[in-house]
């Protein structure tokens, strides 16, 4: 296992840190792909992270040796599948330090998880006069469910403004917090700006005002050490595919006392204790929220991803990502005509930018020709685009397996873009 190799003494030099992490690249088969004849430079990790072979193989092995439906079977395969599924829940619980397995609800993704809270917590409780606060830097997944809820219940959605550098305007937030605020929904890390929000402080303030807090952790779990007890948030949502796990799976953490009071989300098998046509008794946690055959293989894959990450030196990874961020920020700032959108002092390894005179879509295509994969567009965060008055940005998002020379490749390609479009040239 390459994981053991890095738990050595602490190093501080960026190149040395990179050297320690570099052999982890071998765990990710896709990183050796060629794109248009070039080495793939994968800088689209905020959209989806790549899977290590440990996760890919865990999923295959499950299919080849243990696959069966869970929970209600006495035969060996069913028992094995159930054990693997529930072990995965434990791995995930431990990964976010949730107090209890009952609080770890398996969903199909962050979007599913936030919709669950909006529907099962918000819908029966909110009404006219109630306020839901979301920040101006939210992903659509943390806007649209609240919009739909507001339409349905008469509650109002209000927006916490952000500063020019892309931080939550905490004074404005404090001013918005009143007794009418029932829910504060904020992302831990913005996928469009890279900002790391002070979610602990946001949560404490909301609690003082009597509001419940939903943290969208989609971008955080792959980078930060997340401890839901330390954050003390009421709900925390994330997706497998953003933390080197499979698609089709996500998690909702919720405090037991809240989850217990909530109505179930979907109806079906496994979420009931008994069904007759007259009466239906719902099951306890977490089963109440897991109707039907769950994403068994995907949960096991996510458990493997949590285990993989937990086996790494997270501090070192974090350090390396911060080094990449700094290197990329400096380097890209030197590209003529380039402006970085999102310059908060607290950032994860995401650099979003615009280039004078060239549309992000064209940048994306030209970068791809050079093997460099970045995302271009509104990043499912149109209010952020509006805020900065840009139609779209180009976004490079790094994971621990990225390298300084990959940033160089990005830089070189951007110079080519300027050259081709004959813009931002020295005169």
């Amino acid at each position: 296992m390459s994981q053991a190799a890095i738990k050595t003494e602490t190093v501080h030099n960026p190149d040395q840190i990179q050297k320690q992490l570099k052999n982890l690249r071998d765990d990710f088969p896709i990183l050796s792909r060629k794109i248009n004849g070039r080495e793939l430079v994968y800088l689209d990790n905020a959209a989806s992270t790549q899977l290590p072979k440990q996760v890919i193989e865990t999923v295959s092995a499950y299919h080849e040796f243990h696959h069966s439906n869970v929970h209600r079977g006495v035969h060996t395969l069913s028992q094995e599948a159930t054990d693997l599924y529930e072990e995965a829940r434990e791995q995930i619980r431990s990964f976010i330090n949730a107090p209890s397995l009952k609080e770890v609800i398996i969903t199909s993704g962050t979007t599913d998880a936030i919709n669950l809270v909006s529907r099962c917590y918000g819908e029966p409780r909110f009404g006219k006069g109630d306020v839901i606060l979301v920040s101006n830097m939210e992903h659509h997944a943390n806007i649209v469910p609240w919009h739909m809820l507001a339409e349905k219940t008469g509650a109002e959605m209000k927006v916490i403004p952000i500063t020019d550098e892309g931080s939550i305007d905490m004074d404005a937030y404090r001013a918005l917090l009143g007794p009418d605020v029932k829910m504060v929904a904020v992302n831990h890390i913005s996928n469009a700006l890279g900002t790391i929000n002070p979610v602990k402080e946001i949560t404490d303030l909301a609690h003082k005002a009597g509001a419940v807090v939903m943290i969208d952790g989609a971008q955080a779990v792959g980078h930060e050490l997340v401890d839901v007890q330390a954050l003390n948030c009421d709900f925390y949502a994330f997706s497998g595919h953003k933390m080197h796990g499979p698609t089709g799976i996500g998690i909702l953490y919720g405090k037991e006392e809240l989850l217990k009071e909530m109505k179930p989300n979907r109806g079906g098998g496994d979420m009931i204790l008994s069904v007759s046509f007259g009466e239906i008794t719902y099951a306890g946690l977490p089963a109440k929220f897991e109707a039907g055959t769950p994403p068994i293989a995907q949960a096991i894959g996510l458990g493997a991803a949590a285990k993989y990450l937990s086996g790494l030196d997270r501090d070192l990874m974090y350090q390396h990502e911060q080094n990449l961020l700094k290197y990329a920020t400096d380097k890209l700032s030197s590209v003529p005509g380039l402006r970085i959108i999102g310059t908060s002092p607290e950032k994860t390894s995401i650099v979003s930018f615009v280039l004078d005179g060239v549309h992000p879509h064209d940048i994306g295509t030209i970068l791809d020709e050079n093997g460099v994969a970045v995302r271009t567009g509104h990043h499912c965060a149109q209010p952020v685009m509006e805020r900065y008055n840009v139609p779209a940005t180009t976004r490079a998002s790094m994971a621990f397996y990225n390298t300084f020379s990959e940033i160089d490749a990005l830089y070189d390609s951007l110079l080519k873009v300027n050259e081709l479009f004959d813009v931002n040239q020295p005169n």
Binding site: V358, H359, H361, D362, T365, A392, K416, L420, F421, D422
Partner: protein, 153 residues
């Protein structure tokens, strides 16, 4: 060094029309207009037409909007192609352009396609960009059909 595919896509003519789009204006009057939107990349453009009812001729055409080089150049070149043409001719140009950019097999040989349209042939290898090239034409078509909004999802 740029790859040949990039060069093939971003030909001089495209870059030039992107920089200096023709007929880029809101006219004082128009008989037809439509808004085109490509939600994939946020491209948005408005196409305005003056169609002479008797002769069914496009006497004026213009556009405004935000978009990538491909979509802007395509809109610009489109206006230069259909101005003065009959509605029928404009629609057959759309068909020809659409078939070429989506790589559809047709009887049309390469040299039958006007060279100003042929510069977009490269997008057929880049599925993510086909809609950029065709947005202006789809919007033109929508305007002619009396629809006010289209979206190329």
């Amino acid at each position: 060094m740029l790859t040949s595919r990039t060069k093939n896509l971003y030909q001089e003519l495209i870059l030039e029309h992107n920089k200096k789009p023709r007929n880029y204006r809101v006219p004082e009057t128009s008989s037809h207009q439509a808004k085109g939107h490509n939600p994939l990349c946020g491209d948005k453009l408005d196409v305005y037409l003056s169609v002479d009812e008797e002769s069914s001729t496009i006497s004026d055409v213009s556009f405004i909007g935000d978009g990538c080089a491909i979509s802007k150049a395509s809109a610009s070149i489109m206006t230069t192609m259909v101005k003065g043409k009959s509605v029928e001719e404009a629609q057959s140009l759309f068909k020809m352009f659409h078939d070429m950019t989506t790589g559809k097999e047709t009887d049309v040989t390469e040299d039958q396609i006007p060279s100003r349209l042929r510069v977009f042939a490269g997008v057929k290898d880049l599925p993510a960009r086909v809609k950029c090239a065709t947005l202006a034409w789809h919007t033109l078509d929508a305007a002619l059909q009396g629809e006010e909004k289209i979206s190329t999802e």
